[in-house]
């Protein structure tokens, strides 16, 4: 048995209620009032007091919240930042962290999706000598088109240079060509140089091409598109490409970038077909 009535469950419960209510008081005042209440109880009943005796003392003291209300009326409440208590501040801190994390996430996502797409600039041309040796360039209005004869059964293609002028690395994952090519071409291939031609100064054909390829901020890559051509085209018809859609990962997001070429690459009638 304890040598004080303070250990009694009814008293302990009352003091818990008091502590909860007294959080609105200045710390020193709350501590002092608690000490007075505890002394009142200890002076009123001994350690072996019955539940009824203890309950009578606590009834006489009045509800803990009213006792605290009296103290607040007499001395004023604690300034609110201190009333919140460590549990309250912990909760507030946790909530702020969650809000900050969610906000940061959405800001990051937004910044990723608003990043400019890859930019076409620099070198471009047909990839294979039979093509670039026979290309015909025409201009109409502001559009430039370069046309080469279709070579059925042979691989044809071109390259362009793309730049990442953003502050985030962009990784090209694939394209919308899905293995096709102009005029029903097959075995299409879309790859990028694995290094920056601007930095190496290398000629396009000496570089290695692969997919996926990451383009760090401020760097460029050659985008090479080739396919095996099929069929023939009449003198009045051409088939080619002046844009491509690339699947690009920026940070955590993957998006489709529409890449408009500075010139169109077209296949037309030529000496390889009757």
């Amino acid at each position: 048995m304890s040598d004080t009535a303070l250990a009694h469950r009814l008293v302990a419960g009352y003091l818990r209620q008091f502590d909860a209510a007294a959080s609105v008081l200045p710390v020193q005042r709350a501590r002092e009032l608690r000490e007075q209440v505890a002394a009142h109880i200890e002076d009123s009943v001994g350690p072996d007091a019955s539940d009824e005796e203890i309950a009578a003392v606590l009834r006489g003291l009045g509800p803990a919240r009213l006792l605290v209300a009296e103290a607040v009326a007499a001395t004023g409440a604690r300034p609110w930042p201190f009333r919140v208590g460590w549990k309250g501040w912990t909760l507030i801190g946790a909530l702020l962290l969650v809000v900050a994390a969610v906000s940061g996430y959405y800001i990051k996502i937004n910044s990723m999706t608003s990043v400019r797409p890859l930019f076409v600039e620099g070198q471009s041309g047909w990839w294979y000598p039979p093509d670039y040796n026979r290309q015909v360039t025409t201009q109409a209005d502001l559009a430039t088109q370069t046309t080469v004869p279709i070579r059925p059964g042979h691989r044809q293609g071109f390259f362009i240079q793309v730049f990442n002028f953003t502050g985030m690395t962009q990784t090209v994952l694939g394209s919308n060509l899905q293995g096709g090519g102009p005029n029903g071409g097959t075995n299409g291939s879309v790859t990028l140089s694995t290094s920056d031609p601007q930095r190496s100064g290398s000629e396009p054909h000496t570089l290695t091409y692969a997919l996926p390829v990451s383009i760090p901020p401020g760097q460029s890559r050659y985008l090479r598109i080739t396919w095996i051509s099929h069929g023939c085209l009449s003198k009045l018809n051409v088939s080619g490409m002046d844009s491509v859609e690339l699947r690009v990962r920026v940070g955590w997001t993957t998006r489709t970038e529409y890449i408009q070429f500075n010139e169109g690459f077209y296949l037309g009638h030529g000496g390889y077909c009757p």
Binding site: R29, Q36, A39, G62, L66, L67, E70, A71, T75
Partner: protein, 124 residues
């Protein structure tokens, strides 16, 4: 829930409790429970035992009482409250006001003529 009469009585008790505490301390220092019991034995002054302690703290903040720990032989230490000189002066002033105030209230409640002194007191 308090009805209107009880609420008014509680306010009245609250108003006179301070001077009553000072009056008890005037005779000798007392510890908390002792004060509570003396006030309770007077009858009708205390709303609840607990109200004495916030009041004691307020009186001490106002410089009307002081407190100090005292330990008797074989007993645990207790905080004893004493009236200060300012407390004595405040009590004396209250006693002077109270006599007139109580007389005025009695007259009003009993439907008698309000004494001139009380009726004009405090007017600009």
């Amino acid at each position: 829930m308090l009805d209107m009469g009880e609420a008014e009585l509680t306010e009245l008790r609250r108003g006179v409790l301070g001077p009553c505490v000072l009056a008890l301390l005037e005779s000798r220092p007392r510890f908390g429970l002792e004060l509570v019991r003396d006030l309770a034995s007077a009858g009708g002054v205390l709303t609840s035992d607990g109200t004495v302690y916030p009041l004691l703290n307020r009186l001490r903040d106002a410089g009307l009482v002081t407190s100090q720990w005292q330990a008797s032989e074989g007993e645990r230490a207790r905080r004893y409250y004493s009236i200060t000189q300012a407390g004595g002066q405040s009590l004396a002033a209250f006693r002077g006001e109270w006599a007139q105030f109580a007389a005025t209230v009695s007259h009003v409640l009993e439907g008698e003529t309000v004494p001139v002194v009380a009726a004009t007191k405090g007017r600009p």
